[in-house]
């Protein structure tokens, strides 16, 4: 593929060429309900621990 067919920002050595990008599985997990229910509980627990330590 010619580079001019790639969005300018994503071409080699351009800004968005370097960062890690999520693959399809990771993107799926971002909204996969069973996993996100677990993450919701885990995040709440972490915030409660923060509150207990900082108050």
């Amino acid at each position: 593929m010619m580079q001019d067919q790639i969005p300018e920002n994503k071409r080699p050595y351009e800004q968005a060429y370097f960062p890690a990008k999520p693959n399809k599985f990771v993107l799926f997990m971002h909204t996969f309900l069973p996993w996100q229910i677990i993450r919701f509980a885990a995040l709440n627990l972490k915030i409660v621990r923060l509150l207990m330590k900082g108050h």
Binding site: A16, P19, H30, W35, I47, L50, L51, G54
Partner: protein
């Protein structure tokens, strides 16, 4: 396009943070750049906005070069700034410099001794948020004068300071407010002559949820937790933070927390039954 005075994306005004991702301890620069790149948002960092005109913003970079960025719609967040207030005592003497720092924020029990970045310490940060001269004056959140930034300060060759201010709104602000309010109550009721509770930003954590799509089933948010807000390299030599409480992730679960906090805080603001047990 995102324009920021941060030295790098993910600095967040608190000298960045480290988070655990995929078995690695990752810097928040990688975390933030990944989110921006995924959403095709470009970024300009180390930038000081000099002027905004219709459809055009002018900014200076750390190398003192000047640039322009055109826009159809722009949202600018002004930097934190103290108010230009004057203070006088009962005899009419100007006591502004006793109460306020040159930045316009109120002086509290912080260590304001000027020192280089390498000598900054968590102990510089105020604990009781009390003015050292007038014991009945307190300041919390963005009202108190921080001893210095948290991020490494940078100046362009033109002497323009290009660095983010310490974040002290939201959870840290409310945590300070509660501690100070309870101290004031005790002092008024004669329980104690001096504040007994402390709320140093170097000893408190914060959670920040940034929405990246609000739908209840397909939306996501970036959730970040950090402890402590001001890094303490004496306690946590590797990253300045407790890594078991410092994290960042993107997902629908974080968006649900955003929804929950939204309703909880409005409930609390309305002083409905048991509002005071809702944490900050």
């Amino acid at each position: 396009m995102w324009i920021s005075n941060e030295q790098f994306l993910g600095d967040l005004g608190m000298g960045a943070m480290h988070l655990e991702q995929g078995g690695y301890t990752m810097h928040s620069k990688s975390f933030a750049e990944s989110i921006f790149a995924e959403r095709d948002i470009r970024w300009i960092v180390g930038a000081h906005v000099k002027q905004v005109e219709a459809g055009k913003v002018e900014y200076e970079l750390l190398d003192s070069t000047f640039h322009e960025q055109s826009f159809d719609f722009a949202m600018l967040i002004p930097p934190f700034a103290g108010q230009e207030m004057k203070a006088f005592d009962a005899s009419g003497e100007d006591i502004t410099s006793t109460i306020f720092a040159p930045s316009g924020y109120m002086k509290v029990d912080a260590d304001y001794t000027p020192k280089p970045y390498a000598e900054w310490s968590a102990d510089d940060w105020p604990k009781k948020l009390q003015n050292p001269t007038y014991s009945n004056m307190f300041a919390v959140g963005i009202a108190f004068a921080p001893p210095h930034q948290i991020s490494q300060p940078r100046k362009s060759p033109n002497d323009t300071l290009i660095t983010p201010a310490p974040p002290r709104t939201g959870m840290p602000s409310a945590t300070m407010a509660r501690a100070v309010a309870e101290n004031i109550v005790d002092m008024i009721n004669g329980v104690s002559d001096t504040p007994t509770r402390t709320a140093s930003m170097a000893q408190m954590g914060a959670a920040c949820i940034a929405s990246t799509g609000k739908d209840f089933f397909t939306g996501t948010a970036a959730a970040m937790t950090v402890y402590p807000v001001v890094p303490d390299y004496a306690k946590f030599p590797d990253t300045g933070r407790d890594q078991s409480l410092t994290s960042g992730e993107v997902g629908l679960g974080a968006q649900w927390i955003k929804h929950t906090l939204h309703h909880l805080f409005i409930y609390k603001a309305k002083l409905k039954p048991f509002w005071s047990v809702i944490p900050e």
